[in-house]
Amino acid sequence: MVELTLPPDSRVNKNGLVYRAPEGAKKPRTFRIYRFDPDSGENPRVDSYEIDMAACGPMVLDALIKIKNEIDPTLSFRRSCREGICGSCAMNIDGVNTLACTRACEDITGSEVRIYPLPHMPVVKDLVPDLTQFYAQYAAVKPWLETRTPAPPDRERYQSKEDQEKIDRPSACILCACCSTSCPSYWWNSDRYLGPAALLAAYRWIIDSRDESTGERLDALEDPFRLYRCHTIMNCTEACPKDLNPAKAIGEIKKMMVSRQH
């Protein structure tokens, strides 16, 4: 059965450590952050960090870096580009999956900023989820061009501007996993359901005018779980920080499945 409560050793202790703002802070604000250290043998807890926003950059990632540099070096999170292009800093901020580097602290209403790892994933440490299965699902859809016709000897394979535009948006996916980890179907059945990110990637190759494996790609998705666990709940599209539309892509794949039957 689906588990609606956390197992005893994953239950969160809400009364974690509290770090007060420094004397004379001009704009103090509290960040409540999920902490888990697998080596400690302790349950996860939520620590509170009060920081002076007058001496901090505007984004949630700036606050996290400030906390790590100035208050608590044990805080773990992923980040790299700090401009919404690498997808590493995805986390659950104020109840919404998004990128810490593009989410402004100012836009978060309420006095506290609550930060948790992406939902329903195994936690490696603090805000770092284990994305092994998520990446394997991406690999499973063969995210590369497949052709039987050899490439022209003297040039690359051409594609019209219109055909390029079809794959332009889906190609912009940064594999941050905000969408898949916001999808209830993925929470309950990620062992068999590929999830919106992998399906968007599959769609990107299905509609690529240069690809010659459309049929095989559809065959590989035609499954009550791999594709049809999507119940059009639309959380994925809502969550995507790059404004992509995985739900629509999944709908298009389903339409292609039907149209090749009749």
């Binding site: 059965m1 499954d223 389903k254 039907v258």
Partner: protein, 129 residues
């Protein structure tokens, strides 16, 4: 017997695609449309009756067109519900035995409801004018 895969990709690929699901999804859409039309017909027909007494509803339902449409409504509702409930079971019940039992139980329950309802409509139609 299912082989336990040892790599993440092996686990995701599992036993491969079942090459089904499209019919199920399509039938769910088609029965949904049928249900919308038939439910509208049902409500409007009842509203057009002089009153909702046993005899006027009985007389109305005994007419061939009403009985036919009512049978289709029963079939569409049961079929749509059977498809929907099986999806819910697959979503939430993960044990191999409990899932199979739940799916069987749901199928039999839906068949029973459809059978009883169809029989009732038939009897009314047969008794009518």
């Amino acid at each position: 017997m299912k082989r336990a895969a040892s790599t993440p990709l092996g686990r995701v690929l599992g036993s491969g695609a079942a090459h089904s699901g499209t019919q199920h999804w399509w039938q769910q859409r088609v029965t949904a449309i049928a249900l919308t039309v038939l439910t509208l017909w049902f409500v409007i027909s009842l509203l057009c009756l002089p009153d909702l007494s046993w005899s006027s509803v009985h007389t109305w339902l005994a007419k061939p067109f009403s009985a036919l449409s009512m049978s289709m409504l029963v079939l569409a509702a049961c079929w749509h519900s059977q498809l929907g409930v099986s999806v819910v079971i697959e979503d939430y019940v993960h044990g191999a035995v409990s899932k199979t039992l739940a799916l069987l139980l749901s199928t039999f329950a839906h068949l029973a409801v459809a059978g009883v309802a169809l029989l009732a409509v038939l009897r009314i139609a047969a008794s009518g004018n």
